[in-house]
């Protein structure tokens, strides 16, 4: 029988991490990530989780601790948000190169300045080039299930990369939702103890990340990219295996929602996808052929899966809570790059929505659909992204 609880999103994540039995946890508190690592600290203190919980003075150290623990052959976990994730960045790039498979929760929060604790995805999106595998989740249940899959994906001997589960701060981490839990034995069978290929061993000394110059460095980077590409089929297989056990199928690299005959397909990541599904249902009832592609796995980028879902559409409206300053939204750029040159590819409307916690509701989505229909009629893309809900009258 499935055990279901009404849990705060952060607590759901802490429970998922607990059941995966990490041997080392290290974190530095930052809103809105704090409740997750507080809950894990309490579990360790109360003897409910046999793990080394290392308190550190910064996120740089937290990432360094889990990196070292992973090199020593331990299953390791950390979490952060916003500035904290940026402070981890140097270590995350290094951990990718050292092929250290720890799991990190990236609780999405905007980046200063101006200072704000509200949600957007600029923090995790800015890590997109690092080689960390990134998942984005829509609900606390999906966060719970994805964390359990994340350890198995990271530790797969053909992948061996850090995995980040990105979840929207506050909207997911601080709201209560019904969450079904897995049984310890189920998880133990699905996720056996971590079997490292190499580990730090005083009896068999090794050097990690040894100095590499122009004759080999390029091959190291290519190998990471190759593993990323190869990970796509592995991730799908691991998600499917977990869905078989739990009976909860969140999809593969993407979830295609009512896209079959859609003229306009919205594309979203994270909690925005939930609101969008509601809006799609209402617009469908009004006779509009609208669908949604939810990206679950952003790195590696699921270009083939998205193509299969949008190839018959006329416009794809990419809704994203990030911006690559001086260019446009990162997800829109990714999609355009992968659609470029495909015969009959839909036009892409890049939509900046939800920056700094700006509400994205049904009205916002109706406005985006209106804009997408303008593009559809004109048959040419806009020159600049559409900033949904922007109030130009308050600009300095």
């Amino acid at each position: 029988m499935t055990r279901a609880f009404v849990l705060e999103g952060s607590e759901a994540v802490a429970n998922a991490v607990q059941i995966c039995r990490p041997q080392v946890i290290s974190a530095y508190p930052i809103s809105p990530q704090t409740h997750i690592v507080e809950a894990l600290a309490r579990m360790v203190a109360d003897g409910e989780l046999d793990s080394q919980y290392v308190r550190v003075e910064s996120e740089f150290s937290a990432a360094s601790v889990v990196s070292g623990a992973s090199a020593a052959g331990s299953r390791a976990y950390t979490a952060s948000s916003s500035q904290g994730l940026l402070l981890m960045t140097e270590v995350l790039y290094a951990s990718v190169g050292l092929r250290l498979p720890f799991v990190i929760t990236g609780v999405n929060r905007t980046i200063s300045a101006p200072i704000s604790i509200q949600v957007d995805q600029q923090d995790t999106i800015s890590l997109r080039d690092s080689g960390v595998i990134q998942f984005y989740v829509e609900s606390s249940q999906e966060a719970y299930d994805t964390h359990i899959a994340a350890f198995k994906i990271a530790e797969d001997p053909e992948i061996l990369l850090p995995v980040m589960v990105c979840m929207d701060g506050w909207i997911l981490t601080h709201s209560y939702e019904r969450v079904s839990a897995m049984e310890e034995e189920e998880v133990a069978r699905f996720l056996p103890p971590f079997q490292p290929v190499h580990f730090l061993d005083v009896d068999d000394p090794k050097s990690w990340g040894s100095y590499s110059e122009e004759n080999v460095l390029m091959e190291f980077k290519y190998d990471i990219q190759r593993s990323m590409q190869h990970a796509k089929s592995k991730i799908k297989a691991i998600f499917a295996e977990l869905a078989q056990i739990t009976g909860r199928d969140h999809g593969g690299l993407i979830e295609a929602y009512r896209t079959e005959d859609a003229h306009v397909v919205l594309l979203a990541m994270g909690s925005m996808a939930g609101t969008t599904k509601e809006a799609v249902d209402k617009l469908r009832a009004e006779g509009k052929k609208i669908g949604l592609v939810k990206i679950r796995c952003y790195r590696p980028f699921p270009d083939e899966d998205i193509w299969n879902a949008v190839e018959r559409a006329q416009v794809v409206a990419v809704m994203e809570a990030d911006y690559s300053m001086g260019s446009e939204g990162a997800v829109g750029m990714d999609l355009k790059a992968k659609l470029c040159g495909r015969p009959g590819a839909p036009l892409v409307l890049d939509v900046i929505a939800g920056l700094g916690g700006r509400e994205v509701n049904e009205g916002t989505i109706r406005a985006i659909i209106g804009k997408a229909e303008e593009v559809q009629r004109a048959g040419v893309p806009l020159k600049e992204p559409y900033w949904a809900g922007l109030d130009p009258s308050i600009l300095p």
Partner: protein, 87 residues
């Protein structure tokens, strides 16, 4: 065939000894064994552990000395000269 790279650039321990960083050097420290008082300061400050004691005399291991000149700068009796490397 060239050696294959390893996952995570993991190699057996101690392989840095095979990398002779002495080739980076453009100045060579030379110890004047007459004025040298064997105080050991040069060995302590060498960032590459390239100074060693042999038969009670301090010597430079030119396989690893990068020619930074710290030993010459710190030598209290100016017994170390930095001589430009020439080819």
């Amino acid at each position: 065939m060239a050696m294959r790279i390893t996952l995570g650039a993991v190699v057996r321990g101690g392989t840095s000894l095979e990398y002779k960083t002495g080739s980076w050097r453009d100045q060579r420290p030379v110890i004047d064994t007459v004025s040298c008082k064997a105080c050991r300061i040069c060995r302590d400050v060498c960032p590459d552990s390239a100074v060693y004691l042999k038969d009670e005399l301090y010597c430079i291991d030119y396989d690893y000395c990068k020619g930074c000149g710290l030993c010459a700068y710190e030598c209290p009796v100016d017994a170390i000269s930095m001589i430009p490397e020439e080819k």
